[in-house]
């Protein structure tokens, strides 16, 4: 029964718009720090994220990054190598990272030894001494890494964009290679006391612990607090200028175009998600179709909705052959204007709708993804209702709404344009 198939005709498709959002279990440490547990019953893999109010915005110097990276660099009892060997004894891994708002310590391991692994790491960070020798090495390493990074046109454009967009606010502050020299151990110790010990905001735990394990886990973090006050963002004036940085010998030019916008708590956020996807968020987007797939000016171009704790922004980012710079800017403008002045064809909207539904489904697939969804919303004072609204918006949005959203928020005259190359 081998029927001849018609290859010119696409198979039928169906899209699921039902997603089962799972609530994590919630516990509190003695000090009132929330511990969220998402069950992972399919595997032994465990991930624990500690989130601290210890982002780079809390200090004028690049202290946050150094402190975060040195959390496990030694105590008065143990050297960095000893701590690392002991983490290895449990088959554990860890990763420290920092954003403008928060520092994160992620711990990876297996169910069989979660609690002892976490006890070991908690002890090492609570008693961290930030040894002088390690700090000097780390400063050198960071300085050189920054110098290397400053050789990239993408970094140059991104930094200038951030500095101009958030000029006068902590989000617009940039690190420079010479900033590291003046940082001392005392800076780190003070930052650690104020932002880490008092700023353990929450703990996310993906795993499958027993009741006993949860009990002892929660007591492990009793000596940490969650009392860093909200830092209101002072008034600042985002720039809308055109900035061209020169980098001799560059064969490509980095481009960042964008503006201050809003974060996910704004009523237009979901509509902007659809607008942004159409413009530059997926492989078939207008920017990709025009500037990569039609003209071949770049390896990739995209647009993004970014956010920090207090605000959000919109940015278009690409690197193009320098001979294509001028026309790329023209084409980007054309695409912005087209979104603002013409309704989206129904066929394109249907495609983007389906693509986004698929993305939502994928973004909710498995306990690690589910924990991430929960945590991002929770950090903004939202819950899973946020994602339900997103789904509803994607299903219902009309070409008229898309056009008016774009018209309101994507005026190219209001945009900051940075090029580097």
């Amino acid at each position: 029964m081998n029927h001849k198939i018609n290859r010119a005709e696409a198979p039928g498709i169906q899209l699921e718009s039902e997603i089962n959002y799972l609530q994590p279990e919630r516990y509190l440490t003695g000090n009132g720090i929330p511990v969220f547990i998402m069950r992972n019953t399919a595997s032994e893999a465990v991930k624990i994220d500690l989130m601290f109010d210890a982002g780079s915005k809390y200090d004028e110097k690049p202290v946050a990054g150094l402190t975060t990276e040195m959390l496990l660099a030694g105590t008065s009892e143990k050297s960095m190598a000893e701590i690392n060997d002991q983490i290895d004894d449990f088959g554990g891994y860890f990763n420290a990272s920092v954003s403008a708002d928060h520092a994160y310590l992620s711990i990876y391991g297996l169910n069989e030894c979660t609690v002892p692994l976490v006890q070991l790491i908690e002890d090492a960070i609570f008693n961290a001494v930030f040894p002088e020798g390690e700090l000097e090495r780390m400063k050198k390493e960071r300085k050189e890494k920054l110098k290397v990074s400053l050789e990239k046109v993408s970094t140059l454009a991104q930094r200038q964009f951030q500095a101009a967009l958030f000029a006068g606010s902590p989000y617009g502050r940039l690190n420079h290679p010479e900033d590291f020299a003046e940082i001392t151990r005392e800076h780190l110790l003070r930052f650690f006391e104020n932002q880490f010990k008092r700023g353990l905001r929450k703990i996310n735990w993906v795993g499958n612990p027993s009741e006993e394990e949860i009990k002892s886990f929660v007591t492990v973090f009793e000596r940490w607090a969650n009392e860093v006050p909200e830092q209101p963002l002072a008034e600042f004036q985002p720039s809308q200028e055109k900035i061209a940085l020169e980098k001799k010998d560059a064969v490509q030019t980095g481009i960042r175009i964008g503006k201050l916008l809003f974060d996910r708590s704004h009523p237009d956020y979901h509509k902007m998600t659809v607008v942004n996807t159409l413009l530059g968020e997926y492989f078939g987007s207008r920017l990709m179709s025009n500037i990569r797939e039609d003209k071949g000016y770049t390896y990739g171009i995209g647009s993004y909705l970014g956010e920090n704790q207090s605000s959000g922004y919109f940015v278009i980012a690409t690197e193009v052959g320098k001979e294509f710079l001028e026309d790329t800017l023209v084409q980007i403008n054309l695409e912005l204007e087209r979104l603002r002045n013409e309704p989206v064809p129904q066929e394109e909207l249907d495609l983007v709708r389906n693509y986004l539904l698929g993305q939502f489904l994928r973004g909710a697939d498995g306990p690690f993804a589910m924990m991430e969804l929960f945590s991002v919303a929770e950090s903004k004072g939202l819950d899973y209702g946020f994602y339900q609204e997103a789904l509803t918006t994607v299903l219902k949005i009309t070409p008229v709404e898309i056009q008016s959203t774009a018209h309101q928020h994507l005026n190219s005259n209001e945009m900051l344009v940075v090029t580097a190359g």
């Binding site: 290859r7 004894d89 052959g321």
Partner: protein, 417 residues
């Protein structure tokens, strides 16, 4: 333990189905047994350029991506020196969309002139973005020909030079497709919440009528035994001096591959490994240092690379580095260290197995190695490794006549007169 169901179509297509009842998504992974090592030395970068063209429309479907996106899915691909791998991830009820698209481009491409012209340009921009306009970006373009004199691993997947991509013609594209893109040169892996019979029927439906061809014979020149310490120093516009030591190591299918893999984990341990302790902490010579293997199918490279503390000399580094490596030759690592490596490997396996896409890609890759079942034997292989095996591996690897060394010196600032 990964379970799978394997079958073959009459046209030679090998199919692996991996059931996962926990996910609403499906994965369709297609591995073609062709990589940069199969290229003509005068037309390098072709396998990768070709990968781009695979998205430029097939014989019955003008555009690959739109129908997939319309079905809620997305797709990507990568080319290595050994293989070209394409994957689609989409809601499982729409799996036929992926099978329809993938089978049509296995049947034949559209061979559009416009697509060739645009993708040539895109790949040239990729060449610039990743290899030319990045600090240290051209390191592999210099290191590969130093380490390999005969074997096609001497060029990177992007190609030796931009002109090879510029000169690619439609005839070459068609010839490449005819030689390498057909059922017997592919491994299709499907993952998701389906039943064996369902996948057998669907794959037969979409792939059954693609004509079979003989799998192309691969006759690569064997890299002759290296007999000298090869060294190269280059000046580049970079802020920090960098070093790259490349040691020839065993091919993927040999026991020596696993030994080198574990040895690189031990030597390169961040913050508690010997390279870090001695070169970074004790001697203050390096800003960062790591050890890793490239994982090639043929004779590969065991790498030790990093950045020098500015002001320190490469000579000092060279002496100190060889001293650390010699330590691994004369002393076996401790039982404790071996145990730690095993425990860490267990954790990282648990994480690797989290993603359906990862599992599907790995199953395809092990099938290419000879048997998808190999994926379930790796743990036993790794756990059987003893300290003295690693010591003898170190003795084979860490000799100057097995090493190619590249130093990158920062260019002296030029003084304009």
């Amino acid at each position: 333990m990964l379970h799978f169901h394997r079958f073959q179509l009459a046209n030679g297509l090998t199919v692996i189905f991996h059931q996962d009842k926990t996910t609403p998504m499906a994965v369709v992974n297609t591995l073609y047994d062709v990589g940069a090592r199969d290229e003509d030395p005068n037309r390098t970068g072709f396998a990768h350029l070709f990968e781009h063209l695979m998205f430029g429309g097939s014989v019955n479907i003008p555009d690959f991506d739109s129908p997939l996106q319309r079905a809620g899915g997305e797709s990507n691909a990568f080319t290595s020196n050994d293989i070209t791998n394409y994957y689609d991830v989409l809601p499982s009820q729409n799996i036929e969309t992926a099978l329809w698209l993938e089978s049509d481009r296995m049947l034949s491409l559209a061979f559009s002139e416009k697509s060739l012209e645009v993708q040539r340009s895109v790949v040239i921009e990729e060449f610039k973005q990743r290899y030319l306009n990045q600090p240290y970006g051209d390191v592999w373009l210099a290191l590969r020909p130093l380490a390999y004199k005969v074997h096609p691993y001497q060029w990177a997947t992007i190609g030796k030079e931009i002109s090879h991509i510029e000169h690619a013609t439609m005839d070459q594209v068609k010839h490449f497709f005819g030689t390498y893109y057909h059922p017997s040169n592919a491994i299709l892996t499907v993952g998701g919440n389906f039943e064996n019979a369902q996948i057998e029927d669907l794959v037969q439906k979409w792939y059954g009528d693609i004509p079979g061809k003989n799998k192309p014979a691969r006759m690569l020149l064997r890299e002759p035994q290296q007999n000298e310490y090869r060294t190269l120093s280059l000046e580049r516009k970079v802020p920090t001096p960098a070093f790259y030591y490349a040691f020839k190591m065993s091919e993927r299918k040999s026991a020596g591959y696993y030994l080198a893999d574990v040895l690189s984990d031990e030597i390169g341990k961040e913050k508690s490994g010997q390279l870090d302790l001695q070169l970074k902490k004790e001697k203050g010579l390096v800003l960062e240092i790591s050890a890793y293997i490239l994982g090639s199918l043929d004779e590969g490279l065991f790498m030790v690379s990093g950045k020098l503390v500015p002001g320190k000399s490469f000579e000092e580094l060279d002496a100190a580095l060889w001293q650390v490596l010699d330590g691994f030759k004369s002393n076996p690592i401790s039982e404790n260290d071996l145990l730690r490596l095993r425990r860490k490997a267990k954790t990282s396996r648990a994480f690797q197995e989290q993603g359906l896409l990862n599992r599907a890609m790995n199953l395809s890759f092990f099938e290419l190695l000879g048997d998808a079942e190999g994926i379930n034997q790796e743990e036993t292989i790794y756990n059987s490794i003893k300290a003295e095996d690693l010591q003898s591996c170190a003795n084979e690897l860490f000799v100057p006549s097995n090493c190619s060394r590249l130093f990158i010196h920062p260019e002296k600032p030029s003084h304009e007169s």
